[in-house]
């Protein structure tokens, strides 16, 4: 059961891994080690940010997601495009072309996540206004950020915005609409989220803040892309564009960094993107360094926001330009009715998971910490990664946890061998 709690979408194809140190160096939570020539991910530490996927030159790091074939598993399917999908394609002024194309690809219906995002924006505005004691509220739309906070920033858990992410609200609304429309039982309806990132896969399999996701399958944006482009060509050629979109400026903006915060219609927000920047903001927030006039903090693990996800195709910054031109002539918002018969808020607490704890009782942990400090004196401090750990400190922690040996450090090993050879 314990493993389920730390499910990760990111995983390794061992046959492709050469045991280089690119991923261990890029992992923001130091979750990866190279052992016996292969990368090993510690699931408890991994927050599914996808940085290792982004940087693995051998494409050995992969995201688990569902295949397009899984559409056959259901009698009726609904595609849930993330707003970042609209920014993957060229030269469109009308979102309906993308939505119509998705239906041509075989989906029975579409439901825009960006429409649900407008509901989330409106709920957030109200929640923030009524919960000044929790300021600044921290966005929970990026599952990687929520996962990061639960393992590293226990003091900030109380600031998490307890509103379901747009994907989830979209899924619930889509299922309800499909059941009403078709009369089919829930199990015959497949809700397919088209995702820019692996973290969304994880949040579907193991959500934080609510019991169960209504999303049935998660497709990678890059897998949908080729078929989508083809279908869009057909749509444009025959001109049969269906009127499907109900998203305005706010909903579309969610696809890029600053979009969610912009939808709050306030100035007292901070928006940071890129996992290292996110960590810096959380550290400073934890240390009380921010003025308490901030009402909201939007954090996106990927640079540029969701358009920067590792399963997205387009350059994230160009994608942001496209989002901008798409929303140019749209009204502020087009989805206004908040459904009252599906849950919209968190139903479970996000609990602190002290995974980085050294283990044992306090006396044992203190002695491990002393040992760790002594080891740090012995190591060269080059953070070369040759031992398979990203830093000398990470190796020292591995050693006190019983996961590595001192002589895994080639510099320690070399002086040890020199000592022996001098003695001969």
């Amino acid at each position: 059961m314990g493993n389920e709690k730390f499910y990760t979408s990111v995983h390794l194809d061992e046959s492709l891994c050469k045991g280089c140190i690119n991923c261990i160096k890029r992992c923001p939570t130091e979750a990866i080690r190279v052992r016996n020539g292969k990368a090993v991910i510690t699931k408890e530490f991994c927050i599914d940010c996808g940085e290792c996927i982004r940087h693995c030159k051998n494409h050995a790091k992969l995201a688990t997601h569902d295949s397009l074939d899984s559409m056959k598993d259901f009698k009726y399917t609904v595609a849930l495009p993330a707003p970042s999908l609209y920014a993957q394609v060229n030269n469109i002024e009308d979102v309906d072309i993308v939505l119509t194309a998705l239906k041509r690809m075989g989906f029975s219906d579409v439901f825009e996540v960006s429409a649900a995002a407008e509901i989330v924006s409106s709920l957030s505005r109200e929640y923030i206004r009524n919960h000044k004691d929790q300021w600044p509220l921290i966005s929970t739309a990026c599952p990687t950020v929520t996962r990061l906070i639960r393992v590293r920033f226990p003091n900030l858990l109380e600031h998490l915005l307890p509103i379901l992410p747009p994907m989830e609200i979209a899924a619930r609304m889509a299922r309800k609409r499909a059941m009403e429309k078709t009369g089919l039982p829930s199990e015959d309806i497949g809700i397919f989220f088209i995702s820019p990132c692996p973290a969304k896969v994880t949040s579907v399999k193991f959500p934080l803040g609510y019991e169960k996701s209504e999303v049935d399958r998660v497709l990678a944006m890059k897998d949908v892309y080729p078929g989508l482009i083809q279908a869009m060509k057909d749509v444009v050629e025959d001109g049969q564009v269906e009127e499907l979109s109900s998203t305005g400026n706010i909903g579309i903006s969610w696809g890029g960094s600053g979009g969610e915060a912009g939808g709050l219609l306030t100035d007292s927000y901070l928006a940071a993107d890129g996992i290292e920047n996110v960590i810096k903001v959380l550290e400073d927030l934890e240390d009380n360094k921010f003025a308490n006039t901030l009402s909201f903090i939007e954090l996106n693990a990927c640079s540029g926001g969701c358009v920067g996800g590792v399963l997205a195709v387009e350059n994230p910054f160009l994608a942001k330009v496209k989002l901008k031109s798409l929303r140019k002539y749209l009204p502020i918002a087009r989805t206004h009715d908040t459904p009252d018969d599906i849950g919209l808020e968190f139903t479970t607490d996000v609990a602190y998971e002290p995974v980085f704890n050294l283990g044992g009782n306090m006396a044992e942990r203190l002695s491990k910490m002393s040992q760790l400090e002594e080891l740090m004196e012995k190591f060269p401090g080059l953070d070369c990664g040759s031992c398979g750990a990203p830093t000398c400190k990470a190796l020292a922690e591995d050693i006190v946890r019983g996961m590595a040996r001192e002589t895994d450090c080639i510099h320690v090993l070399r002086s040890y061998i020199r000592k022996i050879s001098d003695g001969i």
Binding site: E283, D287, N288, N357, R365, M369
Partner: protein, 140 residues
Amino acid sequence: MSEVKLSYTISGDDFTRAGEASGDVKSKLKVLGVSPDIVRKVSIALYEGEINMVIHAHGGTIDVTISETEITMVLADRGPGIENVELAMQAGYSTASENVRALGFGAGMGLPNMKKYSDEMSIDTRLGEGTTVTMKVFLQ
């Protein structure tokens, strides 16, 4: 009884590095499994102290001892000393220069916050010689 001793040298007048020591202590306390509310108290108290040393005293040293029952932080500097401790302890009182205030520091909450977030605090200060602030936070 087992304990961990940590020592930091704080360089003066470099705001970009202020917070390095308190940040390191914070990450170590988390690894040590110290409860989140205590981690918060220590890191806020220590950060305030660290900033004070940078602003007023051209740096100094921070020694932290973590035992099974308490965390002791000794912040020693060779700065100008505090002329009127009672006044300095008042919320809002500050001697910081305009330059420093322009950076957002010098709100006069340094010492008051250190006292607020620690369980015990004592100040030993001598004009022209320096100041040593000792703070304790109990783990139980």
